[in-house]
């Protein structure tokens, strides 16, 4: 069968089906359940694993931190990809029972098959406690 110029990738009979791999994909991530923090804790349970191979991922996440302690408590909120902290911010909880909002935005490199994304948080002082709550965000996966 002859081919028509300028139709490459557009004729399913001649050139096969074009895969929809170039499409942007999004997925919400959220955890309304308060998460106690001492050692590192996942703010998303389970971690995000349904990621398209070879896509970059824009990770957006917001939430609130709070501590019952009167003294200042610092919390580190991390974006973790395949057990590697790729981006983090620290938040000072200066006053007891006073919610401190935070937000993270980060873009990953293209990820391999089977990669995972998690949002983790931990208090940076020994014995300090805090709580993360109202976590919500989204992952925007874009082709490379």
């Amino acid at each position: 069968m002859s081919k028509i110029a300028g139709l490459k990738g557009r004729s399913p009979e001649t050139y096969g089906t074009t895969k929809p791999s170039g499409l942007v994909q999004t997925q919400p991530v959220a955890n309304a359940t308060p998460v106690p923090l001492t050692n590192s804790a996942n703010l998303l349970v389970p971690v995000v694993s349904s990621l398209p191979k070879g896509f970059r991922n824009i990770i957006l996440f917001s939430g609130v931190l709070e501590t019952p302690s009167a003294g200042g408590v610092q919390v580190e909120v991390q974006i973790v990809i395949d057990s590697v902290v790729v981006y983090f911010i620290t938040v000072e909880l200066a006053t007891a029972n006073s919610p401190a909002p935070f937000g993270l935005s980060f873009e990953s490199a293209a990820l391999a098959s089977g990669s995972t994304i998690s949002i983790q948080a931990l208090t940076t002082g020994v014995g300090q406690t805090a709580t993360a709550a109202s976590g919500s965000g989204a992952i925007i996966s874009t082709p490379t």
Binding site: S21, G72, Y87, I89, V91, E92, S105, T142
Partner: protein, 165 residues
């Protein structure tokens, strides 16, 4: 079966699949620590400005980071004092931010002493019209105790999404 030119996406029997091309473009940067000093000139928080957008596209700008270690100058030396820092998104060569917020940074230690009392903040904004722009994130000391001084910006992350309109 023969094909007819110029009917791509118009004949479900012959051309049922869409091409699946990407509809957005993205870019991103992480920042190094930056000392924001003074109220005369704003200070860039990025390692370099980022060109993005196009004739038929808008740009969604997203930035997250933290401010800490506010200080004032007393006899030329930094002393702990609170600060209000204005952080904004700047387009091209404009000296006025297209969008900005003010962040209160309470009194803490002087860099590099700890704890720095970090205050997180985020910016989300979309350009109101199509066009190519250079994007910068800049900050300026706005108010505080005593003599004009500043604070530090650390752990910044910029993400740009260019969307066709």
């Amino acid at each position: 079966m023969g094909k007819i030119a110029n009917i791509h996406n118009k004949s479900p029997e012959t051309y049922p699949e869409k091409s699946g091309q990407p509809t957005i473009f993205t870019d991103s940067r992480l920042t190094l620590p930056v000392n924001i000093f003074g109220d005369a000139f704003s200070t860039s928080l990025l390692p370099d400005v980022v060109a993005s957008g196009g004739n038929e596209a808008r740009i969604i700008v997203m930035y997250s980071g933290q401010l800490q270690w506010p200080y004032v100058l007393v006899d030329g030396s930094p002393v702990a004092g609170f600060a209000v820092i204005t952080v904004g998104i700047y387009l091209d060569t404009s000296t006025t931010p297209a969008y900005s917020i003010e962040v209160f940074v309470p009194v803490s230690n002087i860099s590099p002493a700890t704890p720095p009392q970090p205050v997180p903040f985020s910016l989300f904004w979309e350009t109101p019209s199509n066009g190519e722009h250079t994007i910068d994130i800049r900050a300026i000391w706005t108010a505080g105790t005593g003599t004009t001084a500043g604070a530090w910006s650390v752990n910044g992350s910029l993400v740009l999404i260019t969307t066709p309109v």
